[in-house]
Symmetry: D3
Subunit: 250 residues, 6 copies
C-alpha cells in the first residue's frame, strides 16, 4: 500500500473506505564516519512501509531532508529551516485531507524534526486532522530498556548503527565506527537549555559508543518497534474522528 505505486483510480478506491495514512519523514545528515547520511529517512521509510504492509494502511514516500542545522559542521548534511520543513510536510497532509484523510501517523526518523512536527500536528488538529508522531528510538527505549546501554542509544551510536546494519548493511563501514567520549561542554547548570551543535560535543559526529553495533540486536528493535507502531495504527484506526476533535471551551 504505497501511495507512489498506486494509480489514482486505486487511490480513489482506498480513500473511499479509509481515512488514514502513514507518512515517513527523516533527514539527510551526518551519522558518524561509518553510517550513511540518509540513515534517518531510510530507517523511517523501512519502518513505515513494514507497518503499512501489516496494517493495510496507505504509506507515503519519505521526506528525505529535515531540520538538521545542528549537524551542519559535518559535510554533506542538508539543513532545512523549521519553517520550510513544517510548510512542506503540512501541505502534504493538507493534500491528504482533501481526499478525506482524518488521521495521519508521521513516522519521524530524526529528532531534530520533532518541534516542527508537533507544531504542525497542533495546527492540523484545528483543521480536524489528527496527526500523531512516532519516533522509533523513544519507543525502543521504553520497550527494550535492557538491550542497549544509555551511551549506545544516542545519535549514530550502536542502536542506530545496528538498524543500518540490519536494513542496508552495505552502507555501513564498521571499521570506521567511532566511540566518542563527549566533550564536557561549558555549563553544567541545572535547568539550562543551550543552542549547541553536535560539533560542540563530538569530533566524529557520534554521540557515544557505536562500535558495539550488531544486526542481531537490531532485529529485536525493529520487530518490537514495528509491533508497537502497528498497535498504535490499529488503535487510531478504531477511533472515530469526532472523538479526536479538539475540545470546546471549559
Amino acid at each position: 500500500m504505497l501511495l507512489n505505486e498506486m494509480s489514482w483510480t486505486e487511490a480513489k478506491k482506498y480513500f473511499a473506505k479509509n481515512d488514514m495514512a502513514i507518512f515517513p519523514v527523516g533527514s539527510n545528515e551526518q551519522h558518524g564516519p561509518h553510517n550513511p547520511l540518509g540513515t534517518d529517512y531510510l530507517i523511517a521509510q523501512a519502518l513505515a512501509q513494514k507497518a503499512a504492509e501489516r496494517s493495510g494502511v496507505l504509506c507515503l514516500p519519505a521526506v528525505p531532508f529535515g531540520v538538521s542545522s545542528h549537524h551542519k559542521q559535518f559535510w554533506g548534511t542538508v539543513f532545512i529551516s523549521p519553517t520550510t520543513f513544517k510548510s512542506y510536510v503540512k501541505e502534504v497532509c493538507l493534500s491528504l485531507r482533501y481526499y478525506g484523510v482524518k488521521k495521519i501517523v508521521i513516522v519521524n526518523g530524526h529528532g531534530g524534526n520533532l518541534d516542527a512536527l508537533k507544531q504542525l500536528a497542533r495546527e492540523l488538529r484545528e483543521l480536524d486532522v489528527f496527526v500523531s508522531v512516532f519516533q522509533w528510538w523513544t519507543a525502543a527505549a521504553e520497550l527494550l530498556p535492557d538491550l542497549f546501554k544509555p551511551g549506545e542509544r544516542s545519535h549514530a551510536c550502536a542502536e542506530e548503527t545496528a538498524m543500518n546494519l540490519l536494513l542496508h548493511p552495505n552502507l555501513v563501514k564498521m571499521k570506521s565506527a567511532a566511540d566518542e567520549v563527549l566533550k564536557e561542554y561549558i555549563f553544567e547548570n541545572a535547568g539550562v537549555s543551550l543552542p549547541l551543535d553536535i560539533a560542540d560535543y563530538s569530533a566524529s559526529g557520534v554521540l557515544g559508543k557505536s562500535s558495539t553495533a550488531s544486526p542481531r540486536k537490531a532485529k529485536k528493535v525493529f520487530d518490537a518497534v514495528v509491533g508497537e507502531l502497528v498497535r498504535h495504527i490499529d488503535a487510531l484506526k478504531k477511533m472515530r474522528s469526532k472523538d479526536l476533535a479538539q475540545k470546546s471551551k471549559a
Copy 2:
C-alpha cells in the same frame, strides 16, 4: 539593574562594561481555578529580578504573553503563535545586540515557549549572540528531587502553586485548589507524541495535586533555583564570547 528603570545614559554606562543581560518571558494562561493567569510571567520576573540583583547583570521587563494555545479551552488564556512569539522575543534580543550584548539568559516561566526559544537561540548564535534558556521547574527537579512528588510537579500543581503563595499570596485562592486525577487519554503506545490540549486530560486545568502547596517549601525552591541561576549567570559572564561562537566545519 532593571532596564526599564534606567535612563539611556545609565544604560550606556552599563553597556560600556557589560555584554550580558537577563530576559524573563512567560505567559498569561490558566493555572487551575486557584492560581492567577499571570503565574508564568510573574514567577519568571521574580526569579530574573532576584538573580539580576545578586549578579549585577541587567534585567529586562518580562514578556507577558506566550505560546499557550494548548490551554485555550480555559477562559482568559492568551495564545500567541510560535512564529510571532519568536519574532517578538528575537527582536528584543537583536536590540540588545545593537548595544554590544553577546550573552543573554532567558528566564522562561512557561514550558510551551521552549521550542520557540530554542529555535531563536540557534538563530542568534549564527549572529554571534549566545542565548541560554533557564527553566526553574527543571532546575528544581534536579536540585531538590525529594521536595515534591512527581504528581505535584506538573502544571498548576503544588510546586507551582507554592511559588505563587510565596511571591504573591493574595493572588492564590487555596480553597479552590484542585487535585485532578488525569483522564487517561486514548493512546498508550510507546514512542508516540500527540497534539493534545490540557482540556483533553484535565477538567480543572491542573495536571495533578495542588492542594498540598505551601509557601515554606517554595522558599526552598526559590532559593535553590535563584542560586543555580546566579551560578549559571556567573559562569556565562566569565566566558569569552569567541569561545561561545559556532564551530567551523569539521
Copy 3:
C-alpha cells in the same frame, strides 16, 4: 480587574457578562537622561489600571516593547518592527475575541506604535472586533490646553516627565533633566515628511523643555486623562456591537 490576577474560573464569569477589555501597550525606549526607559509602558499601565478600576472593565498586562527604531541611537532602547509588533498585539486581541470580546480599548503609551495599532484596528473590525486606541498626551492637549506650553508637551519633556514624577518619582533624576534646543533639520519645506530619527534633532533625546516638570501639574493631567478614558470606556460599553460593525456597500 486585572486579567493576570484572575484565575480562569473568574475570567469565565467576567466574560459571561462582559464583551470588553482594556489593553495597555507601550515601549522601552530612551526618554532623556532623567526619565526611565520604561516610561511609556509604565504610564500606559497606570492609566489603564486606574480606568479599569473605575469602570469595572478587565485590564490586561502591558506590552512592554514597541516600535522605537527612531530612538535607537540612544542606548537601551528596544526596537520591535511594526510587523512583529502588530502581530503580537493582534494575537492577544484575537485571543480575547475567542472568549467573546467585541470591544477593546488599547491604551497606547508610545506614539511610534500608533500606525501599527491603527492598521491592526482596521483588520480587527473586519473580524467584528472594534478596537479604539487612546493616547493620553493627545487627550491632555485637548482637555488641558493651558497647562503646558507646546515645547513642554513633546517626547520626554515637562508633561511626560511630570507623569513619571507623579507615578514613580524614584525613577526620575531631575538634576539630569535636559532642556534641548532642537537642531533645525535640513528641510523646511511645507508638505514634506522625512524619515528622521530623534538623534537628528536632539543630543539628549529630549524634544524640548523638561526641567519645568512638576508632579502637581501631572496630577491634573492624570485625573483629566483617566476621566476622559473612563468616559470613552463607558460610551463604548453602551454600544451594541452590531452598531459598531463595518458598513456594507453604498
Copy 4:
C-alpha cells in the same frame, strides 16, 4: 525626464550624473459622485511631472493603486494591503538604488498611503537611500491657508475637485458634486483614534463641501505646490548623501 520615455542608454547617461529621482504614487478610489476614481494618482502624476520638468530630475511612472480599504464601500475602489503596497513601492526604490540613486522624492497623492510610505522611508534610510514624502494638500494648507475653508479641504471636497477641474476637466461632473454634512460619529472623546471607514461618516464619499470648486483657485494651488515641491527637490539635490545618512549611536 520621464523614465518610461527614455531608453536604457539615455537612462545610463542620466544616472552617471544624478543620484536622485521623483516617484509619484496614488490610488484608485472613490472621490464622490463627481470626481474620477483615478483622482489621487492623476494629480500626483501631474505634480511630479511638472516638478521633474522644472528641476531636471527624473520622474517615474505613477503607481496607480494604493491603500484604500477605508473607501471600499464605494464601488470601484481598489484596495491594496499596506504590506503589499509597501513592498511594491520599496522594490521600485531598490531598483533605483541599484543604479546609484541616493535620494527619492515620493509625491504621494493619497493620505491612506502615508503610513506605509513613512515606514518604507525608514527602512530605505537604513540602506543609505533617503526618501522624502511630499503631500500636496498639506503643502497647500500651509502655503495658502486662506484659499479654502477647512470644510473645503478634505477628501473629494472643493480643493481636490478644483485640482481635477484644472488638470482634466472632462473627468469631473460638477452637477453631481455633493456637499456633505458629516454624520457625527459615535465617540467624541479626546485622544481617541477609531478604525472608521468613510462610509461611517458620509453617504456620498465626500467629506465636506465640493460644489464650490473652481479651476481658478486650483491654478493658485497647483503653482504654489509645484513651486514648493521644486524648492524641496532643489534643496535635497544639494545635500551630500553622507549628510543624510543615519546617525551613529549617541
Copy 5:
C-alpha cells in the same frame, strides 16, 4: 470605459450589470537603445483600452512595473520580485471581486510577468474568479506568421519596435536601433533551462533585428491582435461563471 475616469456612482452602475474587467500589466525595462523603457506597459495599455472601447468592458489603469530582473544590467530597468508583483496584481483582482467581478482578462505586455500571472490566475480560480492572460506577441505569431521573421519577433526587435512606432513614434529613436547577433551561450544541450539574463546574450539589450521596424506592419499587428482580444473578451462575456468554476473530484 476606463475605471480611473469613472466616479464611484458610475462604477456602481457598471458593476450592477457586468461581471467582467480588462486589466493591463507591463513593466518598465530596457528595450534596446532605441525603444522607451515603458514599452511593455504602454503597449499593453493601448491594446487594453482599445479592446475596452470596442467591447464595452471596463478597463483598469495599467500596472507599470513588473518582473524584470533578467534585464537589470541595462540601466533604468525596474525589477519587482515575482512574489510582490503577484500580491499587488492579485489584490487588485480581489478588489474587483468584492464588487462582483467574476472574469478578468489580464493584458500582459511583458513575458517575464507570465509565471506570476499564471499562478495568480490559478489561485483566483479557487476563489471563483476566472482570469485569462492575453499576450499580444503570442497572438500575433499565431495570427500573422508571415509578417515578421523569427529574428524580428523577439524582445525589442522589429515587431515590438514597430508597435512603438505606431503608438508613440516620438519615443523611438530609429537611428539607434540595434541589430544584434546573439552570443551563443555556453550550453547547447537539449532539455536544459538556464537562469540567464539578457546581458548574457546581447550587448544592446535587443534579441535580434530591430532596424527593419515599420509602423505600417504594426498597424496590421495591432488590428489583428485587438480583434483577437475582443473576440476572446466576447467569448468570455458569454460564459456563465459556474461553467468556468473549478471541477470537483473525479
Copy 6:
C-alpha cells in the same frame, strides 16, 4: 555517488575536489489509471542516478512531492504550493553551497515544478550558485523527434508510460491504459493562457494516447536522454564558476 549512501567523511572528500551536484525532483500525482502516482520522481531519480554513475558527480535523494494542484481532482495527488516547493528545494541547494558547491543540475521530472525551479535558479545565481534545470521529455522531443507522435508525448501518454514500463514495469497496469480524446475547452483564442486543470480536459487524467507504450522505445529514450544529460553535466563541469557568474551593469 549517492549523497544519502555516503558518510560525512566520504562527503568531505568529495567536496574537497568537486563543486558540483545532481539533484532530482519530481511529484506524486496522477498519471492516468495505469501509471503509478510516483511516476515523476521515480523517473527523475532513475535518470539522475544513472547520469551520476556515468559522470562521477554526486547525486542527492529525490524530492518526492511537487507543484501539482492542477491534477488535484484525481485522487492521491499531493499538491505543494509553488512558494513552499521553492523554499524547500532552495534550502537544499543552499546547504550544498555551504560545502562549496557552485553548480547544480536539477533533474526535474514534473513540468509543473518548472516555474518555481526557474525562479529559484535565478535567485541562486545572485548567490553565485549556477543551477540548470533538465527535463527529459523536452530533451527527448529534440533528440528523438520521430519516435513518438505529438499525441503520445504529453502527460501520462505513451512516451511517459513507456519509461515506467522500462524502469518499474510492475507498477504499470497496461490494460487500464487510456486513450483520451481531449475535451476542446472553451476558448480557442490565440495568445491566451488559461488557469485550467487537467480535469477540464481529460476524464482519465491522460492527455492523449497511452495504449501504444512499449519499453523498447523507452530504452531509446532513456539512453538518449541520459547521454544528453551526461553531456550537459560534463560541459558544466568544465566551466569555471566565475564564467557562470552574473554579468555586471552594461
